[in-house]
């Protein structure tokens, strides 16, 4: 009897042990299957990325399997893919507001009840599709809008479907104008009731925050939220040293750089740095007294390139460290022949364009090559072009094929030059019927030049959407 009882109890024990071991074994199998399925689903998403890299339009909405095509590249194939071990994998593509939503699923069934599945999700966007720089050899006016009275336009920036234009207020203007440019052939004034309350000079934009320099003697730097353009919401302001001296601003990373007119007064500096990492505030970091007017700032890396009125250093180069300290770059400032002021600058990558006031003995447009690490121009150049007028605005396309220059005159107020071969030869120009050129802005997404005269915003387009430079 004891033996029978013992055998029974032991058998039950062994049965329990066996079941538990099988359960443990199944857990191990499930864990392994899940890991393998994750890999397969991830590979399906990689395949979709690979197809996208070839052509965004090739990633069509629907369910896709995948395989290696005869040329050895991943490609969509059928609606599912079966892998050794009875894993079936597919990726389902659907469109979303941001691009394409991808959902990869891998399912398996091993035996009677050992089944399962995993899902991985990701998104793809169309950032690989190349934009185009058109043929700017014969541009034309796409659209324009003229303001009555004396708007005395100063600066233009494009933010989404809006162009922001600063201007004077002392002559009855509004100081800041907002145009809907969703149809570039018909720019339309929006929020006409907005009034800056003082002259508006240059602007800088970070995200949906606008920093505008004004003639307000107690609040030269004003900050607005643009989350609901064309409405602007005032955020804060900063009173620069002196009165109404702020002229130019630019932003790199989280630092806002501001240049002013020269002041001989003690304690009135000309170059300022603010921390704008918090879009709701301005935090003063430092400033320097460079004893000359700064009318434009170009930025790349940690270097700031200043169009300066300094007769012996028309192109100043400052290095700004993370801590906010400012040091003059080695080899700077650059003293360019003549004493005409530097008044406009555009910097992108390793190219810098400097515009100067008109002079009889100088060429007003100067191009420099910059070291990749930033800093003062080094070997090669500079290259010059005679503009016959003060160059008040400069820009370049992202391929650095064309330079765009606005001059403070009616004749050839807009000039387009070839800069790729360093010749700076004029390829096209536009002469105003009245008024004179002010600043301009090149927008790469639309491949358009936004050009200001004293009272008109012009939008120029290239002759053809595809150019060859």
């Amino acid at each position: 009897m004891e033996v029978l009882l013992g055998i029974t109890v032991f058998s039950l024990f062994l049965f329990a042990v066996g079941l538990t071991m099988i359960a443990g074994q199944e857990n191990t199998v499930i864990g392994g299957a899940e890991a393998r399925a994750s890999y397969l689903a991830s590979r399906a998403l990689d395949v979709a990325r690979s197809v996208r890299d070839g052509s965004f339009s090739a990633v069509t909405v629907g369910q896709h399997g995948y395989a290696v095509n005869p040329s050895g590249a991943w490609a969509f194939s059928g609606t599912t893919s079966t892998t050794t071990g009875s894993y079936t994998t597919w990726v389902y593509v659907s469109s979303s507001s941001t691009g394409l939503l991808l959902s990869a699923r891998s399912v398996w069934k091993h035996g009677y009840n050992k089944s399962g599945s995993v899902i991985l999700k990701t998104e793809l966007t169309d950032w690989r599709t190349a934009g185009q720089v058109g043929n700017w050899g014969s541009p034309s006016v796409d659209g324009s809008v003229t303001e009555a009275g004396s708007p005395d336009f100063n600066d233009v920036k494009v933010v989404g479907n809006y162009a922001l234009v600063t201007g004077g207020a002392s002559g009855g203007g509004n100081g800041l104008y907002i145009y809907d440019i969703s149809d570039t052939a018909n720019p339309t004034r929006m929020n006409a009731a907005f009034n800056l309350g003082s002259d508006g000079y240059q602007m800088a934009v970070r995200g949906r925050t606008l920093y505008v320099l004004t003639g307000d003697s107690n609040a030269e730097l004003k900050v607005y939220k643009m989350t609901n353009l064309p409405s602007l919401t005032y955020v804060t302001s900063y009173n620069l040293q002196g009165s109404g001296r702020g002229r130019t601003a630019n932003i790199n990373d989280t630092l806002l750089y501001v240049g002013t007119t020269q002041s001989g007064m003690s304690g009135e500096n000309e170059f300022y740095v603010f921390d704008v990492s918090n879009s709701g505030s301005l935090t003063y970091k430092t400033s320097v007294d460079d004893a000359s007017t700064t009318l434009d700032i170009g930025l790349t890396g940690t270097a700031a390139y200043l169009a300066s009125a300094d007769d012996s250093g028309e192109l100043a180069v400052l290095n700004v460290t993370n801590s906010g300290s400012i040091v003059t770059a080695s080899g700077a400032p650059l003293n360019i022949s003549g004493t005409e002021d530097g008044i406009a600058i555009a910097v992108s990558g390793t190219a810098a364009l400097l515009g100067r006031t008109r002079g009889t003995g100088i060429q007003e447009l100067v191009m420099h090559r910059l070291p990749a690490s930033g800093g003062a121009p080094t070997s090669g150049g500079p290259w010059y072009h005679e503009m016959s007028g003060s160059v008040v605005g400069v820009a370049m396309d992202p391929t650095q094929c064309y330079a765009f220059a606005a001059t403070r005159q009616k004749w050839k107020a807009l000039q387009i030059l070839r800069m790729k071969d360093f010749t700076l030869t004029e390829v096209a120009s536009y002469t105003l019927s009245s008024q004179a050129g002010k600043r301009l802005f090149y927008e790469p997404k639309r491949d358009r030049v936004f050009f200001l005269s004293d009272n008109t915003l012009f939008i120029f387009k290239p002759a053809t959407a595809t150019g060859s430079c």
Partner: protein, 138 residues
């Protein structure tokens, strides 16, 4: 004879106990291994999903930079199985921009940092790598 039967019972009892102990230990080990394997499988799934969400954030950032050169990042996007965050986009203008993205799913975090050589006319990438901690973003 009596002693012999008692000894055999003792041996049997000890054997049963020993086998039982070994079986119990083996079973517990297998159970724990199974649980650990399942947790590993789940962790791999979550880690892979976190990676995909980090990729999603980079994709969104690159597209946003093409749509709006003033785009600053500094955003969080929430999804079905987790979320991703973008640090502030580094640099300014068309060249030398940096993107730092983190993907989260469950307890898993994956980080990707990207150095963009230029945005227009075609976006070119200098570096696209997974990192333990960001070096491009302050």
């Amino acid at each position: 004879m009596f002693l012999s039967r008692a000894r055999r019972g003792y041996v049997f009892l000890v054997s049963v106990l020993a086998i039982g102990a070994i079986a119990t230990a083996t079973t517990v080990s297998m159970l724990l291994l199974g649980i650990a394997a399942q947790q590993s499988g789940f962790a791999i799934l979550q880690s892979t999903q976190a990676w995909e969400y980090a990729q999603t954030c980079v994709e969104r950032a690159l597209q946003s930079l093409r749509d709006d050169p003033y785009y600053v990042g500094d955003s969080t996007y929430t999804f079905t199985y987790g979320r991703c965050t973008l640090d502030a986009i580094g640099g300014a203008g068309n060249v030398n921009r940096t993107i730092c993205a983190q993907g989260y799913s469950g307890d898993s975090i994956r980080r990707i940092e990207v150095k963009v050589a230029r945005i227009f006319p075609s976006t070119t990438i200098d570096t696209w790598r997974e990192v333990d901690s960001f070096s491009y973003c302050r």
